[in-house]
Amino acid sequence: MNRREFIKKAGLISAGLSVTPFTSWGIDNERLVILHTNDWHSHIDPFSANHKKYPSMGGASRRASIIQEIRSKYKNVLLLDSGDIFQGTPYFNQYGGELEFKLMSEMGYDFATLGNHDFDGGIEGLDKQLPHANFRFLCANYDFKNTLLDGKVKPYNIVKKGKFKIGIFGIGIELDGLVPKNLYGDIVYHDPIKKANQLAKKLKSEGCHLVICLSHLGYEYKSDKVSDILLAKNSKYIDLILGGHTHTFMKSPQKIKNQTHENIFINQTGWAGLNMGRIDYEYDSFGIVKLQNYSYKKIS
């Protein structure tokens, strides 16, 4: 019997002795499940059946079903978005983002960061829709002083899910040249890598087991423009970067070595609500079998 098999069997035996992570209702409360989206760009309905690239794919309603199914199995679910919720279908032109926020609230989103297109209705347009969102917006490298968003968008948050203490912060892209000045107003942009490292260190020192960066910087650029890849390589205390902006369809999260050669993961799920990312975390404690790769079983 090799070591792995032994651990597996030991896990099964301990399960038999009711030292099991599952409660009697079959809900797993030992595992943290992180679900995330980015750049869903007001794609509330699925693509049309005759769409050449994505026929009948996506849709907020189906996304909600998947989330609900996962919530029925796991107690500790964290639902996150990396920005560009707004703009892309007539729903936004007609209703200004109201429906997007209402749906995300119903799905139980915990946190989101701001993308450049979330300013397409101006700061006022975004502020007007905030009452429809019962989740929180995080962005650490924008200074909102002297704007309507002052105090409404926080840099970071610490959240407890079961025994997991998680630090989450948001990082936004430089708005100058990307968003008309009259739309982003007096928001002041600060260096993403510097801010991210400062905050990640602070969150780890406050005892967070996991530090997550919700980023709208973009995955990678040919130039030396700051990106998730650059942030990851130059970071120290971040465990996971959930990105957006470049509409990068990643098959699964990518492992990168950070400044101190430790593992950090980056993930991004493309565009238009076609995909959702999932990353699970488990404690390095006894009796829990560490799973390597597993794929999500679809709801029939």
């Binding site: 996304r63 007539p90 729903y91 119903e106 492992k255 990353i279």
Partner: protein, 227 residues
């Protein structure tokens, strides 16, 4: 104390210490979930969407034209980019501006056009932004910068008449673009040095809608437009 009891004690202490100090947690990486039609809808979500969708459908399902084949954006040029820039050139001329050609930004094309009837909703997806048509008068020096910028970007959507940019004897040009580019977006900061600027107050989207309505079926040009 028997030897096994002693080692059990030490082991327990060791485990306890580990649990207290080592907060290492392991990620389990899984493939990103593709949201396929096989997943069921969520009734509560559907109920929230319904009144919004109903009102929107009545407006957006209106058929405004016909597209002979599926077109999508590509670099250095594409039939979709050619059509959109030709449409904005047409709209600018229709509004009374004398314009040499139109250049739009590749990133501003937000969707594709399917073959068959074109609905108003499709044009909204193609051009969801509220940007308007802006006309700039630029000297030849800026035209050179424009040319270089387009080449560096691997191509941008260009209308009929773009070859004018290669004319060495032309002292200045009138170009139709969107206000996002005119304001320096997407690396077009050098356009701030334009001699004159006219903001037309015509939305790019409205220009497209008008063009599609008046050109039925939609004329498509598959020629490569490359500088």
């Amino acid at each position: 104390m028997p030897i096994w009891s002693k080692s059990f004690f030490i082991l327990t202490i060791a485990l306890f210490t580990q649990c207290q100090t080592n907060h290492q947690i392991y990620p389990h990486i899984s493939p990103n979930i593709s949201i396929k039609p096989t997943y069921e809808n969520n009734k509560i979500i559907d109920q929230i969407i319904e009144p919004y969708a109903k009102q929107l459908d009545s407006v957006m399902n209106q058929v405004i034209g016909y597209c002979p084949t599926f077109i999508e954006k590509q670099k250095p040029s594409s039939a979709l980019g050619n059509m959109m820039t030709d449409a904005i050139l047409y709209a600018s001329k229709k509004a009374g501006y004398s314009v040499d050609f139109c250049v739009l930004n590749y990133g501003g094309i937000r969707s594709t056009l399917d073959s068959g009837f074109i609905t108003l909703g499709e044009i909204y997806e193609l051009m969801p932004f509220e940007n308007q048509i802006t006309i700039l008068k630029i000297p030849s020096g800026i035209a050179q910068e424009l040319q270089n910028h387009i080449i560096n970007k691997g191509g941008e959507p260009l209308s009929k008449g773009f070859q004018n940019l290669n004319n060495p004897n032309k002292p200045h040009y009138h170009i139709a673009i969107n206000d996002y580019m005119a304001n320096g977006g997407d690396g077009y900061q050098f356009l701030a040095k334009a001699i004159q600027r006219w903001d037309t107050n015509i939305k790019i989207r409205d220009g497209l809608i008008d063009y599609v309505r008046l050109h039925n079926p939609l004329p498509l040009n598959f020629n490569e437009r490359k500088l």
